[in-house]
Amino acid sequence: MSKLDLAYNEDQQSIGAAVRRFCTQVNSEALARNAHQPFPRAAWEQLAQLGAFAAAAPEQDDAGGAEEVCAICEALGEAAFPGPLSATYIAIQTLPEDEAQQVISGSTLVALRASRGNLLPYGPDADIVLAREGNTVRRAELAAEMDVVETLGGEYCGRATLTLGEPLENSARALALGDLAAAAYLGGALQTLLTVTTEHAATRRQFGKTLGEFQAVTHPLADCALNATAALLLARNAACSFDSSADDNATLCADAAAALLSAARAAREGAFTCHQVFGALGVTLEGPVFHFTRRIQQVISMTQDNLHARALLAELGLGDDGHDN
């Protein structure tokens, strides 16, 4: 009998619930709203103590694996909790065990440079810098001092010229984990955004009706719902691939790529839809959605490259998969 069941099991539900409680306790909403402030290391270490990063420890019997990572990131996304999540999971999978342990404990913070550009989200606070190049991850040293950069929307980044080291072990598999974590995070964030927006649409009246009675509002929201649902399922699907395969096979990379591409598209279009519904209220700093859409923009912006599409074609045996890039 086949098991094609993407519901979380009890353990996964339980860590998800723990993360949700944690987010409430540390007031993740305030953290997300203050994204221009220095990084909240205390909260990050608390999150680590919950086991949020240990889930990804390779070759550890009690690690929950990618499925647990997926449940954790979905919950963090729902709360727009800030921090270099994908970078952290990638580091845990690629760094030597002693360093990985520091990352797992939350005491070492990792910044990852995407495959394009030179920006490092949370870079000024980072202890370790990694860089993605095609489908490899490399350790990076600062060739010059890091500039603190205030990015659009107010989240802060570093910018630095990097000297790259050798590719790290297990890179492709680690990147797949990072991608599915980002996909789950985006899916979670979009779910909250959608819930908030749907409530607004159901109650706000204009032209003698609630907004939720206008097809110009409901159809985009319905699209958002189905895209968010599919993105989350694809993230879970990629997590199953990760946990059931020992190596960085083409299917794993393609599954992670499908999840991330779907989540990024869903979140991009969904954020736009929700801003449409909220109008001016959406761009007020104290309003109900801006701290979510800003987080979404940051995560999406790190995914803008050709690599995911290439991974999907590589599974068909077509093109190259970016290894040689």
């Binding site: 009998m1 086949s2 098991k3 094609l4 069941d5 993407l6 519901a7 979380y8 099991n9 996964q12 499925e67 959608l194 749907t198 649409a201 159901a202 609630t210 939720g212 009675e213 206008f214 097809q215 409901t218 159809h219 929201l221 319905a222 699209d223 719902a225 189905l226 895209n227 649902t229 599919a230 993105a231 399922l233 694809l234 879970r236 699907n237 997590a239 199953c240 691939s241 059931s244 599954d255 790529a257 499908a258 591409l261 779907s262 598209r265 050709n306 995911h308 599409a309 290439r310 991974a311 999907l312 074609l313 068909l316 077509l318 093109g319």
Partner: protein
């Protein structure tokens, strides 16, 4: 969370593929270019479904008492994926096994079950569905075709007058699953019934509507004083809306369109690779996006099958899956044009599929809008307009 096919299911997929390789004639691509309703494919389907029945696969997901093997829905979905991927050699009989048979099992009398289910299980009967009407497209509940109960002596008959449109497969069909208004004073979803009627009943006339979607795809069916015995009624009189709602829950994800779409996309990608186009990042991007969309449709359909396998009542996930499958068709239909430019009009014509997808993307739309309304009201719980 587990997401993998069992060893037996993998083996079944492999068996089905080998079976297809052996059974499909050499000229299958040509034979299938007009789709499941084409003349040659309809004829072939009687032979092919008979062979599937011999293998025990045609209705393997049905209960044993009705000629099935009590397999779980996953097993049947494998068959569906493989069939759609090659252009549906079951012809219109995919409807029989997906929802017409199951509706008869659920709502039928013992006599109806005894009459219809063995034929369907044997793979030698063609059905069509008589739903849409000229004045009731996606708005099914506006239907007007009238079945009047008329007494003649001690006997009662229905006398049917009206017409159906956009009916697929009916030129070859033996039976029609017909939606009629039995209570003339009713409106919308009340007073509707389902009748199971032989297509050779006098007074039924079929006229093809030529289209770009393939030979014999669309028809009008006219009913003029068509007289049928009352025992063709499926379920309770006037409650046909329940029957059809039940049936459509199965129909809506029964056709593994995403499998067909994904195969078409793979073909396009291969052509692009052959022509050295994968150096162009635009082409890579567009193909990757479309493939992610196919995966999204697949995983949503799987969720619905999973719910069904677990015996869950129907949920709005069915609508999500349906809309995303349509989006997938649309995207792939546009893709060939975008990446091949002028050449798309010839060499992307894999079994004529792309163009049909591109030009007919809108066809499903009435439907898509209805689905989006349902998602808004059922899934998001927004007020109904």
């Amino acid at each position: 969370m587990e997401f993998d096919w069992s060893q037996q299911d993998r083996e079944h997929r492999q068996e089905v593929r080998e079976f297809l390789a052996a059974e499909l004639p050499d000229n299958w691509e040509e034979m299938s270019r007009h789709g499941p309703g084409g003349d040659s494919q309809a004829a072939f389907s009687r032979h092919f479904c008979g062979r599937l029945a011999e293998k025990g696969w045609l209705t393997q997901h049905w209960p044993g008492e009705y000629g099935g093997r009590d397999c779980e829905p996953w097993r049947h979905s494998i068959l569906g994926e493989e069939m759609w991927a090659v252009g549906e050699p079951r012809g219109s009989q995919y409807m029989n096994v997906n929802w017409i048979g199951p509706s008869i099992m659920h709502f039928g009398t013992e006599a109806q079950k005894a009459l219809h289910l063995p034929k369907i299980s044997a793979g030698d009967v063609l059905w069509c569905q008589g739903f849409s009407e000229p004045e009731a497209g996606s708005d099914l509940a506006a239907l007007r075709t009238r079945a009047e109960k008329v007494a003649s002596g001690s006997d009662e008959h229905y006398v049917i007058n009206g017409s159906k449109i956009w009916t697929s497969y009916c030129n070859h069909a033996d039976y029609i699953f017909l939606l009629v208004r039995t209570d003339p004073d009713s409106s919308r979803t009340r007073g509707i019934s389902v009748l199971l009627i032989p297509m050779d009943t006098p007074g039924i006339e079929v006229r093809e509507i030529p289209s770009v979607v393939g030979e014999r795809y669309f028809h009008e069916v006219f009913f003029t004083d068509v007289r049928v015995p009352c025992d063709v009624l499926l379920g309770e009189e006037h409650t046909g809306w329940n029957v059809v709602t039940h049936a459509l829950q199965f129909e809506r994800v029964g056709a593994a369109r995403y499998a067909r779409a994904a195969l078409t996309l793979d073909h396009i990608a291969r052509v692009a690779a052959e022509r050295g186009m994968l150096d162009d990042p635009i082409v890579v991007d567009r193909l990757g996006e479309a493939r992610a969309l196919c995966e999204a449709a697949r995983v949503l359909v799987y969720k619905v099958i999973d719910l069904r396998a677990k015996g869950s009542p129907p949920t709005a996930d069915t609508q999500l899956a349906r809309v995303l499958s349509t989006n997938c068709d649309n995207a792939i239909g546009r893709l060939a044009l975008e990446i091949f430019g002028p050449e798309s009009r010839q060499y992307a014509s894999y079994a004529d599929n792309n163009f049909r997808l591109a030009m007919t993307a809108g066809v499903a739309v009435g439907a898509t809008e209805v689905q989006l309304n349902l998602i808004a009201s059922r899934f998001l719980e927004l007020p109904r307009e």
